[in-house]
């Protein structure tokens, strides 16, 4: 994965700080909004449902503003990298397949998806020979099958392959 600009910042800490603070503020605003809908005052049998969360929302908004100001104040000094381009590529090269894997579980069941996922990693990032890839990825799923379905009797999502093998 060599290439130019690996050590360059994908984006800076300040940007990340600002986005995170803004995210917190948005969550706080949502909480306040829903609490106002539920009512933040009293009814005859005590405080209404929005009474407690309302203040939570207010504190979230307030502290996110403080964090935002702190991030902006740090701007004049240097702005180190939050994540470098090379690092981000590595992280995404794991995160994206993982998201695909989670999506795949619904289609093929967890055992087939896991075998494919482990195989992809070993072949793509580890550059292993095929027989090692097959042995580890299939072996891993078999071990989990034995532990969960046979030993602890906890059913995990299964798909067409298990149906074919009558393992359901």
């Amino acid at each position: 994965m060599a290439g130019s600009g690996e050590g360059k910042a994908a984006f800076g800490v300040r940007t990340a700080e600002m986005f995170t603070a803004a995210g917190f503020f948005a969550i706080g605003a949502i909480v306040i909004f829903d609490s106002l809908r539920l009512g933040i005052g009293w009814q005859e049998d005590g405080p209404k449902a929005g009474y407690f969360p309302f203040y939570i929302g207010v504190i979230i908004c307030f502290s996110s503003l403080v964090n935002l100001v702190a991030a902006l104040a740090a701007a004049r000094k240097k702005n180190p990298a939050f994540v470098e381009v090379g690092q981000l590529r590595l992280v995404l090269s794991v995160l994206v397949p993982t998201a695909v894997y989670v999506g795949l579980i619904g289609w093929t069941g967890i055992y087939v998806a896991s075998a494919l996922f482990v195989a992809l990693f070993m072949r793509w990032l580890g550059k292993y020979v095929w027989w090692k890839v097959a042995a580890v990825s299939i072996g891993n799923s078999v071990v989990f099958f034995v532990i969960f379905e046979v030993w602890f009797k906890i059913p995990l999502p299964k798909g067409p392959l298990e149906a074919l093998l009558r393992l359901n």
């Binding site: 969360p53 964090n67 702190a70 580890g126």
Partner: protein, 502 residues
């Protein structure tokens, strides 16, 4: 000496063949979890928690289940030291301070000495904390039996304010994370009135966010993503431990008795007040460096620099169970997961536990003594084996850990939605860690959110909305006062620093 009698009864419960076997299983699993990147005490226990559902159904099964899970916790505490010393990678946040002197020792070929010192002082720290638990927890529990809603709320308040005051992260980031936790806990059905809150019509959100999912995502997936940045290869010193090295180190260790005592005290205190094992280990390392005769040589491979953080981390990790058992307020994320386990098995943590579930409580306390002895034996004999796990290439171990996390998240409620949420929490965990947003207060707030809110609203009901109920008697007043003092501590220390400068 009623405690001794209860403890002996506890040993009777814990010392069955099945429970001792579970201790060994738990410790070995725990060390493996502690050694692997991305798996740690908190999410390791969270992932294995669903496996105990069926275990807890039989009579006495809850005791076996808690023994298994708590031993995983002890194992993870031991395991963190192995990676710190041999690979300079802290397997757990609380073993960061162990790398300062442990890794230089390993580089000088004194890995065996460092490992023995680390394991032995871990054991000492844990032992001191268990003794504290044995004698202090019945007292705290009987005291807490008199607590009403205002007292409980002030204890929760103290817990959360301690986080703001004691953590080394920026106070407003701690506050934001904590409140995010409360907001997530509020999602779903309101525990008092039954109204739906913050669900916005989504059926997935009806039951709210489960903190186990958050723990698996934040600590598991987030940690893997962070580890990835460092590259894919681990390079480490080789691990050899023979009887001679162990005995020689043991001969040397009594020299550091004062450091051990100081570190145990720091650890127990930080564990009970929910500072947690990580700040305890740093604090204890700093204290040891200041008081040691050759403090300026710290960082070059001093045994004392391994003894101090390890003793404190283990003492804090163990002592964190004291408030969890007696008050229902966990002192660390892992203790929070164990508390979640208790709730799932149908036990109500808190002072009543000591009255209604004597066998469970004392069985657990007895198992802490035994589990740490088992732990010391296992780690001293099996170090090369555990170090070998770290030599398994990352491209094999990382996807397997991801699969384990996914299975763990799924089994909590048998829901695919949870697996997606785990992924979201994973990305959040990665961002939060890089920006110094602390994760522990978030997890604790998700766990305690509902109960903190209930106790607050009940207090408000009693007093008809009058806030002075939190100062209505000496006990609740001093708890609230201490909480507010801790909350203001960052400001106070800032003011002191300013005054000193001028």
């Amino acid at each position: 000496m009623e405690e001794i009698q209860s403890l002996m009864q506890g040993f009777g419960v814990a010392l069955t063949l099945k429970n001792v076997a579970l201790m060994f299983t738990g410790i070995i699993l725990g060390v493996i979890i502690g050694v692997l990147p991305g798996l740690g005490g908190a999410n390791g226990v969270a992932i294995l928690l669903p496996l105990t559902f069926s275990m807890s159904q039989v009579p006495g099964g809850t005791t076996s289940a808690i023994i298994l899970l708590s031993c995983i916790y002890w194992g993870a505490l031991f395991g963190g030291a192995i990676t710190s010393i041999l690979f300079n990678i802290p397997g757990e946040p609380w073993s960061v301070a162990t790398t300062f002197d442990g890794y230089p020792m390993a580089q000088q070929g004194r890995a065996g000495e460092a490992l023995t010192a680390a394991f032995t002082s871990s054991f000492v720290g844990a032992l001191v904390a268990v003794i504290v638990i044995t004698f202090l927890s019945p007292l705290v529990a009987s005291f807490a039996l008199e607590f009403g809603p205002p007292e409980f709320f002030s204890v929760y308040l103290l817990t959360f304010c301690a986080f703001v005051g004691m953590s080394k992260e920026p106070p407003f980031k701690t506050l934001a994370m904590m409140m995010l936790g409360f907001a997530l806990a509020a999602v779903g059905t309101d525990p008092v009135t039954g109204t739906l809150r913050l669900t916005f019509g989504s059926t997935h959100l009806l039951t709210g966010f489960d903190f186990l999912i958050a723990v698996i995502g934040l600590f598991g997936i987030g940690e893997i993503l962070l580890t990835l940045e460092e590259g894919l290869a681990f390079k480490g010193a080789s691990a050899k431990l023979n009887v001679k090295v162990v005995l020689e180190t043991w001969k040397e260790l009594p020299k550091y008795w004062l450091t051990s005592i100081r570190s145990s005290v720091v650890g127990c205190f930080m564990g009970i007040v929910p500072g947690g094992a990580t700040p305890a280990s740093f604090m204890s390392y700093g204290v040891a460096r200041r008081f040691s005769k050759d403090g300026d040589k710290f960082g070059t491979g001093k045994v004392e620099g391994v003894v101090a953080p390890e003793t404190a981390a283990h003492a804090a990790g163990t002592a964190a169970l004291l408030p969890m058992l007696t008050l229902g307020v966990p002192g660390s994320p892992t203790a929070a997961v164990l508390l979640g386990g208790l709730l799932i098995w149908g036990l109500q943590p808190g002072p009543l536990l000591f009255v209604e579930q004597k066998d469970f409580v004392w069985g657990l306390i007895a198992s802490m003594y035994l589990g740490n002895i088992v732990g010391l034996i296992v780690v001293l004999t099996c170090v090369p084996l555990f170090a070998a796990i770290l030599r398994v290439p990352f491209s094999v171990i990382a996807p397997i850990i991801m699969v384990i996390c996914a299975i763990g998240a799924y089994t909590v409620h048998n829901s695919m939605f949870d697996v997606w949420m785990m992924l979201v929490f994973g990305v959040l965990g990665y961002v939060f860690k890089k920006l110094q947003y602390p994760l522990a207060p978030l997890v604790l707030a998700i766990v305690l959110g509902d109960r903190a809110e209930s106790s607050f609203r009940q207090s408000m009901l009693v007093s008809q909305g009058d806030m002075t109920v939190f100062f209505s008697n000496a006990l609740v007043g001093s708890l609230t006062g201490l909480a507010l003092f801790l909350l203001a501590w960052p400001l106070i220390s800032l003011a002191i620093a300013r005054l000193r400068q001028s």
